[in-house]
Amino acid sequence: MTDTPISGAKALINCLKNEGVDTIFGYPGGVLLPLYDELYDSDINHILVRHEQAGAHAADGYARATGKVGVCLATSGPGATNLVTGIANAYMDSVPIVAITGQVPTPMIGNDAFQEADITGITLPITKHNYLVRDVNDLPWVVKEAFYIASTGRPGPVLIDLPKDITTDEFEFTYPKNTYLRGYHPDVGIDEDAVKRAAAMILDSECPVIYAGGGAIISDSSSELLRLAETIQAPVTTTLLGIGAFPQSNPLSLRMLGMHGTKYANYAVQESDLLIAIGARFDDRVTGKIDAFAPCAKVIHIDTDPAEIGKNVRVDLPIIGDAKTILQSLNSHLQKMQTMSGAWLGKIDAWKKEHPLSYVQSDEVIKPQYVIQEIYKACPDAIIVTEVGQNQMWAAQYFQFENPRTFITSGGLGTMGYGFPAAIGAKVGCPDRTVIDIAGDGSFQMTSQELATASKSKIKVIVAILNNSYLGMVRQWQELFFSERYSYTDISQSVDFVKLAEAYNLIGIRAEKPSEVPSAISEALSADRTVIIDFVIDPMENVFPMVPAGAAINEILEPGAVA
């Protein structure tokens, strides 16, 4: 707080500090010069990424790993448009980031000035909210609101577009204590009657299943979820983004459901008479054919976003609000309840025994599932970040996740190239943790320029490439549904990842035989800098189980199947 006038640039830094921001992932440019000049002296840690998309993903990974708001910064025009994929990614997965973009000076806006892009217009459908600051006096409350909106209710990205003249205009700075938003009321309280009805429905049910999504992690509800599951003895399945919300070592865990979920999770959902959805949105990768999804189940849907209720499936009992508060209340009603009969859990145990996740191990060629299992063995408490494709599904299936915020993946948008920069962001947010990006050879090449960031800024992550020489997930669909016509998915012999690491003064390790896997991992773990491990894996390995798109989730393809 000060009474002497300061510039917008200085004020922005003050605002960010007021919001507790310690790190910005950014990239400079013409209109950002005044702001970068202030950053030069600031104690905010600025990480220079090598592409703005990576800045947005790093802010996203930072946010998911820490639960705090991630911040990225890009210049006007191409800098801003480069953020778009990262913003859309954060929007789809409800990740709180604040993206700050430079803009041409206000008098030039609308004139197609050099490096002008209408970034508030472009990001309208992929931000929770956005701002174009037209008066430096608005800057403090805009920043205050942006952080508040990004981090409350259903979190999401908020963009602030900052014209150059706003950063040099001077004004008397004070930071507001509160926001006043007539149209935004994220904490509405909960409907206790609905909670009581939920308790009654649970009491009536014989075959309940809890289906937890990313919302269970965002709302920090893991312990309440565990208590609910144990009180009512209900099995718990999670979505891809819900992984970590419930310990997978718990006997009630069904692991992940949906397209590449476990058979027993999908069977349990299909035969359940009550589905308790917590912070999940019935995405098509989860439900498969929607009319055939959980046909016998009544549905309780707990979600902070009223717009999710009834969007994809009919809901018998919606409960709107913060999942943690709702589960606490629900648990208090269930305290003295008797546990369910053992028949349902017995049936589930039989499915688990009959249909475990499985693959055929080999002595000759490295199986990707084996790599994941070995990584788990060597470092069970790592933060696992993934790219997109088969690598992502194998990581979801074969690692054992016990805690929230330990599995970071691009779910809703499925963004190849997300993993490596998100891993950098996660590592910056959690410097004491081991962060491992389970990567595909295709995805990694989309943001591998960030090796320069990792090298120069001395951020150590491990990139474990499951190198199948293919855009594997697409190749798998071609094998199964397009008569093995591998149209433009062969990416073999195009890059030497070991040399690539070395080019950035980082470490590259190649493992070509199963016997080399454990030592490659331990070498990477003890290295002092970022390591790429190039695991040369079976190129034709597929992800199973698999529910073909549009099929019911109990219509599951087996290895060797051709549809």
């Binding site: 508030t120 217009g121 309208l124 459908p125 929770k128 909210h129 174009l132 909106i149 938003l181 007539r182 149209g183 935004y184 976003d305 009223p306 717009a307 209720i309 009834g310 969007k311």
Partner: protein, 166 residues
Amino acid sequence: MRHTLAVLVENKPGVLARVSGLFSRRGYNIESLAVGMTENPLISRMTIVVEGDDRVLLQVTSQLSKLIDVISISDLPPSESVDRGLALIKVAADTGTRADIMQIAGIFRAKIIDIGAETLVIEVTGDKGKIRAIENMLGRFGIKEVVRTGRVALHRGTKTVGEEYK
């Protein structure tokens, strides 16, 4: 079913784009949209007429509510509200037909707001049915041009929308 929504929004640049963008990208059809300042200059009111069943209506309203600049949304049921639109109709008219046209306008309580050598401009206010009816009546004289506003609506009686924001 047709629903008339009274939506209070912040009177800020870009709000119309946020609302109309939401409708188009989620595939909801806007039948009519009118926007103007309310008695509070910081707040604008949109009257949006949408077509859809209850499920669509629920989706529209809950998605709209998520826009930070949307303050409140009320559904105005036809039985409890009044609504009006306005149309200006330019119709061909000569000395032979002018009297007939003016008589039709009179019956509809429409106003003649311009007379030219070959045309009349008629202003008509009313609900959709009335405007369509006068258009039908004028059709045989030759309608040259029609321009319509979106519909606006209010609750009947003492009820108002967004009381707490005034």
